[in-house]
Amino acid sequence: MTREESAMTKEEQIAALRAQTWREDLRKSRKTKERTDIPRVEMNEQDPEIRSHNHLEVNLGLTAEQARLEAARCLDCANPTCILGCPVEIQIPSFVKNIERGDFLEAARVLKETSALPAVCGRVCPQEKQCEAQCIYTLKLGKPSVAIGHLERFAADYERESGRISVPELAPKNGKKVAVVGSGPAGLSFAGDMAKYGYEVMVFEALHEIGGVLKYGIPEFRLPNSVVDVEIDNLRQMGVQFMTNCIVGRTITIDELKEQGYCGIFVGSGAGLPNFMNIPGENLIHILSSNEYLTRVNLMDAANPESDTPVAMGKCVAVIGGGNTAMDSVRTAKRLGAERAIIVYRRSEEEMPARVEEVKHAKEEGIEFLTLHNPLEYYGDERGRVKQMRLQKMELGQPDDSGRRRPVPIPGAEVVIDVDQVIVSVGVSPNPLIPNSVEGLEISRWGTIVVDDNMRSSIPAIYAGGDIVRGGATVILAMGDGRKAAASMHAQLSGKE
C-alpha cells in the first residue's frame, strides 16, 4: 500500500463512520451554538490540601452526566483534525459521539480498536500537545478544546468497572512462538496483538513486576497500579505468558531464544538509564536519580513501614528537571512529608516538557517552582549528606534545535539554597543490555536500536519499539510502536510480506 492509498482508506473510513444514521441524527439533535456554548468540563479532583498527604489518585474521573455533556461539545467535524494529532490515530469523534449517545461500552470498544491501553493513555497522554491541540475549538474557535483525554479515561474506566470487559477475539493458534523483551507499554501492546493473531507469546521482564515505567515510574496518585493490573490480567486471559526476573541477554540470550523455537523477537526494553549532570558533589548522600527515588517508593513500596526497603524522606527536597518524571518525583516528596518541595529547572515554565495538568496539580499542592536556575555544585555535611546547593541563574536566549529558547547563564548571578535531598531528573538513556549483547544489531549514536518503517531492526527476526528506539518518549508512542511491530512481524511470519 502506498501512503496515499492508506490515507484515502482512512478518510473513507472516517466518512463512513460519520455517515451512520445514529451519528447524523445525533449531530442534528443540537445546534452548533448550543454545543459551543457549553463550558469545558472540569475534572473532579481530590482537594489539593488533602491529596498532598495521601497517595490516592488525584483525578476522580467524570460522572456519566458530565461525560455526556462534554461529549456534546464535540461538533463531529467532517474533517476531524483531532485524529491527526493522535500518534495512533484513534477514531476520536466516533468514540466521543458514542459517549454522547450513552453507549459507553461501544465507546470503549472504538478506543480499543486502536489503543491497547486506553485507561492508561487517558491518564498520562500529553493531550494538550496532541489531539486537543488539533481540536477545532483550539484551532478555530479560540475556546478550550473538547476534553478528549478525560473522555477517553471515562469510557475505559466505565468498561473496566462494569466488569464487562470485551476480551478480543483470538485467531486460532498458529503454533508459532514469539518472545517479547520488556513489559512496558510497547511490550504489552505487542503481546496483545500477537496473541490476537494466534501466536504463543512469552514476555520476559527483568524486574519482579510487570508493567515497566507504568509500575516502577509513574506514581499511584497519577496512575493506580490496579488500572495497569487489569490490562495485564486481560493479556493473561488471552494466553500471554510472563516470566519475571529474567533478563534477555543475561539470564537467557537471544540465540537461546531462537534455539527454543521463538521465531520472532520484539525488544521493548525502554530507556531506563538515568542521566546525571556530572557536577561536583553529585555523589553525596541523599542525591539520587528520580528512577531510584520512584523505584524505591513505587516498585518497592519503601514509604510503607511494612516494606523492607528504605527511602530517605527529605524535609527540603529539590528536584532537578521539568519533565513528567520531575513532577512525579517532587509531588511524591511532598506526599512523603517534605516541608519544601522545589522544582529547579533551567528554562522557564513555558518550555517545561511536563504535561500541563501535572504542572497545575503540582502548583495547587504547594510545590515551589524555581525556574531559570541550574545547579552548579552540591555541598555536604561532615557525614557526606547533602546540605546545600549552589545555583546559577539563567535567562532565555535564542531558540535552539528543539525550537525552545536556549537558557544562558547570567554572569555572576548565583544563589545558595539549603536542601537535605536532591532528586536528579534530567533525562534517561536507552537500556544498553540488548544493544550490547546482540551481535550485528544496528545501534544509533545515541544508543537506540535502529529500525525501519515497520519497526524491524537490522536483524530480520528482531523488531523493536518504544523508548529503546526513540529515547525517552511517551506511553502512546511506545504502544503504537508495539502494535505496528506486531502487524509487520505477523505479515512477515505468515508470508504475507
Binding site: G272, E282, N283, L284, D308, P310, R383
Partner: protein, 273 residues
C-alpha cells in the same frame, strides 16, 4: 522456583545456600552476582554467585548476616523458596594467564573470591591466596580456596588462626618476596582501600570487586554509583570489578552509610517477630 536444596552453616554469621536456578547456573561466569528478594515486601539485595552446578541446575550463595535481609536469608531452611532471584548480573571477571595472581579476600569477601581463585588457577596462573578475618571462626571456605591455590596465607586480627595482623601485612610480604602480576581484592570497603593503597605503592595492578548498595542491579537507578578515575560508574553494569587504583574508596565508604538509621530501624523488625 528458586528452592533452597542445601544449607551449610560456615560459622554463626555465615551460611552457604545452594539454590535451584537452572538458567542462572548455565549462564553465569566467575565474578557474576544475583539480586534476590524475600517475600512481597522484601528488599532487593545483591549476592555473588560463589559457584554453580549446571548438572543439578543450582547456584551457591555464601551470605554473611549483617542486616535484615541477610539475617532472614541466614534463617531460611532447605525446601524454602527465594521469592525473586535475578541474574547473572555484572561483568564477568577478566580471566587469563597473567602469571602470578595474588587473591586477597577479607571476611565475607572470601566467598566471592572463590570462583575467581578457581578461574585464575584453571587459566594457568600461579595463585597465591591471602585470607583475612577478625578471628578464626570467620575464616571460611579455606579448603575450597586451598584446592585451587598454590599457596594460602591466613591472617586474623586477633591471631586466633594463621598469622596475627591485618590483610595488608600478608599481602605486603608476598609482594616483597616475589613478582606479582595481578592482585584481586574483595572484602569490606575499608580493607580494599588499604590493599589498594599498598599495591599502588608497589605498582602491582589491582582489581577490586565493589559492594555498593543496589536496588535493581540492571543500571536503572544509579544508586550503586561510584567514582572511578574521576568518572561516575554504575557498579551493577560497569562492574562490580574495577581498577582499584582508580576507585574513590572514601566516597564509596561514605555512600555505604546512606541508610544507616533506616537499616537499624528495619533490624528491629527481626526482633519483634
Amino acid at each position: 522456583m528458586n528452592k533452597i536444596v542445601s544449607r551449610t552453616e560456615l560459622s554463626d554469621l555465615v551460611v552457604r545456600l545452594e539454590v535451584e536456578a537452572p538458567m542462572i547456573a548455565k549462564a553465569r561466569k566467575p565474578g557474576h552476582f544475583v539480586i534476590l528478594k524475600l517475600g512481597a515486601k522484601g528488599e532487593r539485595i545483591p549476592l555473588t554467585i560463589s559457584s554453580a552446578d549446571t548438572q543439578k541446575g543450582t547456584i551457591t550463595l555464601v551470605v554473611q548476616r549483617v542486616g535484615l535481609t541477610s539475617n532472614k536469608l541466614y534463617n531460611m531452611q532447605v525446601g524454602e523458596e527465594i521469592t525473586d532471584l535475578l541474574g547473572p548480573l555484572g561483568r564477568a571477571t577478566h580471566i587469563e594467564n597473567f602469571g602470578t595472581v595474588l587473591c586477597a579476600g577479607g571476611g565475607v569477601g572470601i566467598a566471592p573470591l572463590l570462583p575467581i581463585v578457581e578461574g585464575m588457577k584453571k587459566a594457568g596462573n600461579k595463585v597465591i591466596s591471602v585470607l583475612a578475618a577478625r578471628s578464626k571462626n570467620l575464616i571460611m571456605l579455606e579448603d575450597e580456596i586451598r584446592r585451587h591455590s598454590d599457596e594460602v596465607v591466613i591472617m586474623t586480627d586477633d591471631g586466633s588462626y594463621g598469622e596475627k595482623g591485618l590483610i595488608t601485612v600478608g599481602v605486603e610480604k608476598i609482594i616483597q618476596r616475589e613478582k606479582v602480576d595481578l592482585c584481586v581484592t574483595i572484602g569490606p570497603a575499608v580493607m580494599m582501600k588499604f590493599v589498594s593503597l599498598l599495591t599502588k605503592k608497589y605498582d602491582v595492578p589491582t582489581v577490586a570487586s565493589l559492594n555498593t548498595i543496589m536496588v535493581d542491579g540492571t543500571g536503572m537507578c544509579g544508586g550503586c554509583r561510584v567514582s572511578v578515575g574521576g568518572k561516575t560508574k554504575f557498579v551493577c553494569v560497569d562492574g562490580p570489578e574495577f581498577d582499584a587504583h582508580q576507585v574513590n574508596f572514601d566516597e564509596m565508604i561514605m555512600r555505604l552509610g546512606t541508610y544507616k538509621e533506616e537499616e537499624q530501624e528495619e533490624m528491629k523488625k527481626l526482633h519483634q517477630k
